[in-house]
Symmetry: C2
Subunit: 202 residues, 2 copies
DNA sequence: ACCACCCAGTAGACAGTGTCTACGGCGGGG
DNA sequence: CCCCGCCGTAGACACTGTCTACTGGGTGGT
């Protein structure tokens, strides 16, 4: 069995990911993870100094999964950078919607205090992809701002849509249960309305 | 008056707000709030059926404070709707930065399950102000999308900036420790670059 | 005036949590 | 061979949220 052999550390993370997807964030107690892994409650302490460190490792696995999905999408995507950005936005929002607990865990504030060094790096790599795409997508229309600023604002927009939609406010205030509308609005806003015509191509 | 003689309810919320601003979200345990209020740990149960209900009441107080700040700003603001939106964005980001724990509490997912009905309403009122301002700000430039969509996307952008900046990723990936740059980018993007010239006016 | 009643607050119990410490067994290197 | 470091176990400790029994005091009804 690939899960039972050898490293308990990897098995704890795997059990945490599975438990996080089945039950919510609430079920991710240290003792419950150890229970599901079939070890005593003190065992995780040999591999993770604290509970937050284990949660950070699980969140890191989430960034790994998201990064793999992004890489897989980029590999099998049309060469048009705007279409790539649209698909990337859909991927981000779909990831947030499908893996609710994981998305919530990945951006918890208390996880990068001390032991979450890898989290900023993981998100930074994903952000680099976004910067490159933004740079390519708005190459024709000259923009005064650096691409990192536009990419940052765009990422913030995507993240805000995911966050507010998950929180439930957008479902009642804005009539759109379609996140797609907000995604289009954000893309068109940050990349310029000239690119909006390509939206129909997808 | 059931609320006046039982002023413990209001005192619990006040103690929670104070405790939340001094220590973090971690300190907001039911027993600690009761301790700071000078009552036994079972006393809050007479006014709030569960711990989450008390937290929801504290978050509601946060929405109240934010709403008062917004109303105060609108009252003493220049009539230019774009300048009002800029100030409103600054106000939102400043509120998120100044009252970290409160902002985190106000958008916690588990608080509107069951007892958080008032939270969506409180945020909905603030959103209405935003929709009106967006409607007025882009009156000249005709936009195909309804104002609620633009306002929703803009709010999501503001919220995402606050969230990602608090999380810390924007501080390392984007070199700007200035949230102002991202705020300007978001406003110019969603309201059209034609309005960007007015940015220098403030 | 009296008495019953309700109600806010107290105190204790219970299960569950994260962290710490002492202990056991097991395998590899001196 | 022995000894030591590693890894998992078991129990304790101080917490937490929730539930239940209990008490004190004020109010309303008769």
């Amino acid at each position: 069995m690939s899960t039972s052999d050898g490293n308990l550390r990897a098995r704890l993370v795997a059990v945490g990911v599975d438990l996080l997807s089945r039950e919510g964030t609430r079920a991710l107690s240290l003792r419950e993870i150890a229970r599901q892994a079939g070890v005593s409650h003190g065992a995780p302490r040999r591999h993770f100094p604290t509970h937050q460190a284990l949660l950070a490792a699980i969140a890191r696995e989430g960034y790994h999964q998201l990064g793999q999905q992004v890489a897989e999408f980029i590999r099998t995507a049309p060469p048009d950078p705007y279409a790539q950005l649209l698909g990337l936005g859909r991927l981000y929002l779909d990831f947030a919607r499908t893996n609710r607990g994981m998305f919530e865990l990945m951006f918890r504030h208390d996880l990068l205090r001390g032991n979450g060094i890898g989290l900023r790096e993981a998100s930074g790599a994903l952000f680099g992809v976004l910067v490159d795409l933004v740079l390519a997508a708005r190459a024709e229309a000259a923009d005064a701002r650096p691409a990192s600023v536009t990419a940052g604002a765009l990422w913030a927009n995507l993240h805000g849509i995911a966050e507010l939609w998950q929180w439930g406010s957008l479902q009642t205030t804005v009539r759109t249960e379609d996140v797609e509308t907000l995604l289009r609005a954000a893309l068109d806003a940050h990349l310029g309305p000239a690119k909006a015509t390509r939206t129909r191509a997808t």
